[in-house]
Symmetry: C3
Subunit: 371 residues, 3 copies
Amino acid sequence: DGLFSTRLVWRAQLRYTHPHRSDPRGVSNFTTRSDSSNFEARRLRMKIGGHGFKPWIDYYFEVDLQPSRDVDDDAAASSARVIDYRITLQPIDEIGLRVGQWKIDFNRERVDSSGRQQFVERSIVNRVFTIDRQVGAQIRGRLFKETYADMRYWAGVFNGEGRSVNNPDNDMMYMGRLQWNFLGRDLKWRQSDVSFHKLPTGSLAFAAATNNGKCSRWSSSGCGNLSGLTGPSATSQNFKTEQYVQEFAFKYRGLSIQQEYHWKDVEDKRNMTVHKYKGMYAQAGYFFHGLVPQIPEKLELAFRYAFVDAPVASNVALTDEREEYTWGLNYFFSGHDNKITVDYSILELEDASTGMSYDDNRIRVQWDISF
Amino acid sequence: DGLFSTRLVWRAQLRYTHPHRSDPRGVSNFTTRSDSSNFEARRLRMKIGGHGFKPWIDYYFEVDLQPSRDVDDDAAASSARVIDYRITLQPIDEIGLRVGQWKIDFNRERVDSSGRQQFVERSIVNRVFTIDRQVGAQIRGRLFKETYADMRYWAGVFNGEGRSVNNPDNDMMYMGRLQWNFLGRDLKWRQSDVSFHKLPTGSLAFAAATNNGKCSRWSSSGCGNLSGLTGPSATSQNFKTEQYVQEFAFKYRGLSIQQEYHWKDVEDKRNMTVHKYKGMYAQAGYFFHGLVPQIPEKLELAFRYAFVDAPVASNVALTDEREEYTWGLNYFFSGHDNKITVDYSILELEDASTGMSYDDNRIRVQWDISF
Amino acid sequence: DGLFSTRLVWRAQLRYTHPHRSDPRGVSNFTTRSDSSNFEARRLRMKIGGHGFKPWIDYYFEVDLQPSRDVDDDAAASSARVIDYRITLQPIDEIGLRVGQWKIDFNRERVDSSGRQQFVERSIVNRVFTIDRQVGAQIRGRLFKETYADMRYWAGVFNGEGRSVNNPDNDMMYMGRLQWNFLGRDLKWRQSDVSFHKLPTGSLAFAAATNNGKCSRWSSSGCGNLSGLTGPSATSQNFKTEQYVQEFAFKYRGLSIQQEYHWKDVEDKRNMTVHKYKGMYAQAGYFFHGLVPQIPEKLELAFRYAFVDAPVASNVALTDEREEYTWGLNYFFSGHDNKITVDYSILELEDASTGMSYDDNRIRVQWDISF
């Protein structure tokens, strides 16, 4: 009936990589290359969503069915786990409430589903700057809809310890985001202009977040730490993090542009040091069929550049710089629901301690399909 | 068709607590208060049930999608896990057979679903006395239906090691329960008189259970031990447990009353000691709309008292006493399927070793919703 | 519509065993008998399959909901986990492509679902010789359909590290299988002639596989090692395995026959030794109702013999021999979807080091039901 609805989706993201499964980060990843030729179900997901009781009470659950693991990991490391659960009350566009655990709407690259990306994987910026999934509550809404002041806002409070973790203390994470839809139209959280926007559509956004706790970074596994910073088993409240992001996105007639600039300060309260990180990515894609009709209609070409500046953990005055250049090719059999992506990356590291530079490259092939 | 049916339910129990996530038990929980302000999905469940082959062959599976964890726990601790699976053959009311793993019908407070409670969580009695889920087989039935001798019975044999654990030896758990529906009507396993019983309905029950094995208590995690007793990795057959319970329940026109008295003896065969536990809770709730029409119809007020007498592990002649006073408030948007609960507790400990008394209080807010 | 279909099945395999849960293998399993009387949900499975986008794009997911565990295992050992995910493109019978993770079609006993067996569990051959589930890609097809040259073929490349494990290096597993349906009809991957083949149907197959890596055996848990060989945490590329199998299967009017002969060589590259294994099973079942109408129509009797020759790890010149004699009885309430199986085994070990022989027996009762 109209009061209840439900939809169940199964998704598989099947990937082949060579020679690196993930982005190389330290000098040793570049020099002592341990090549691997790997088939992987990078993401197996079960998604359930719908509404209940009222048309404006939405729910959504997402189960990560099988995180892949290394050969020396325990079998339990590949157990199924919930990553998203959220209930959204949105009686009117202007204000709503969401509670649960989800990627908390800090920046576009992270919130765009891994199945709605332009490349095989997110940029090198993601590991350092994502706030990922958090447990808590958030108000959210859209104001001045379809005017030049059209904007969305988000403000929330969370445990701040990442996926599924209880808060060990009274310190909460706070976040806010303001997004200006400067042409009066809203862009969905998805990359590539698959739906071929006939009217130019863009957004400019700023967001900030702060936390006191044991984590200096977050991922689908929960609370973690950046290279050189001590793990979550240490004494409470090690780190005060502050993060800011500027974000831009635009789509028009098969062209898509997306860019973010991140700042992140991590104050290590035990060692009395401050670690300052900066990062940026910019990417663009285009369906060249619009220019050259001989090129297949469902084929997109894309390019991405990214850099991450990270302090050397033992001497925060020094800054290592990593860069990524990625060329990507998407063939959308049925939009993002059934697509093949190939990408090729050149990955570079400038090591501040020695002044040496390193680089490597990587090829990835991926089929993403949802049933 | 009529031979097969199925029903899938998604349930979220979202909770905020301060300053204690669970009941404080030892002196240190009271004195060195480590306050925490915590959002939590206390229970995320997927439930599937139906019947197949015959109308009297029922099945039921329940998956606990994401047990929450502490910040220093491994990510795998939050993996999805089956908690219930059971198949029930009930060709006639008088006798049936259930096999599988489930909360084995020992006492009402435990068997009442966590989504059908009158307060945010079960009383302090539960941790010590619940037999929880076991793997095995049980006969069950209802005799003299709708007479003054109306009764239900249960008798079963189980591995006795808790959820999902194989029996390491030949010793089984045995349990029996007899429930007298003294007014000829049956009370469902759920608290609060949401359905507004127009006829008074009540039950009086007694149950007993005994086990030889490595566990001195059980929980959703499986086999565990009471404070001061040695864990399950020790030599086999450490503990002989014997348990008894008396239980009363009654509902009438918005009033609900429920009470249990528990005895539990744990014989530690290695240390040649007997640990004797006693516990009781009594609770009552009422929809005051029946008396004062200005009070909203869906609002229930409730109160619970409970105590647990537990021997000091190092000197079983001494007995610590814990007490709980909880005031609760339920607003049932749509019965137990969509409700908000707020409760406030005063929790006390009389420490037998020192003669000192301690107390603390706790506030909890919870939204329980099923789709 | 015709472009998408889906089917969800819940399956429970409930088992009672005494005195051994699994096959005894070493001398100590036979001599210091640690009897156990055990109820177990040996397999709780959720299966989802269907097709999408095209009628010839099939998908299939299988979740192992609760692996049972020992009393001293961590609770996370019983977490739900995906065991199968596979997408099959089969536009024509003659050639298709399958990608994902599944039991890679090496031998019939393993690929036959645990819910389509003739006995309570697979033979003693399975633990040593199964290649089980692997992550990768395979081509497959059926040629000369319904002629005397009717055959199926499979050829694939896989990570070779078992379920959900990433490949740590460039070495892949390769496998191939050729199956001759010598009567022009195909036999499904299921045991017992429940469907009562009116025409004789048989197959003869040969398969081979080879791998370089850390595993000397595989199971539902992933990568493992045979008794006496070092575990997967050791240095890379310990083992080069080569395996061959000959297989025969036949069904006609309630009679079913199935047999496999296995060879497996494991070269331990670190210790410079070669371990050579041989194994065989042969089984037959019959619905005697065809001969003696008084015997119930749904009752099958079956017998199986198996042996495994395995080198002594410390001296590969010596060979231990294990043998299995199993009598089985199936009552198929509703085919394999709802059946009760009882089997009784005599298990023997000839210990090469001492020349001694040992034997034991075992009874198992099982109800397998799918909803």
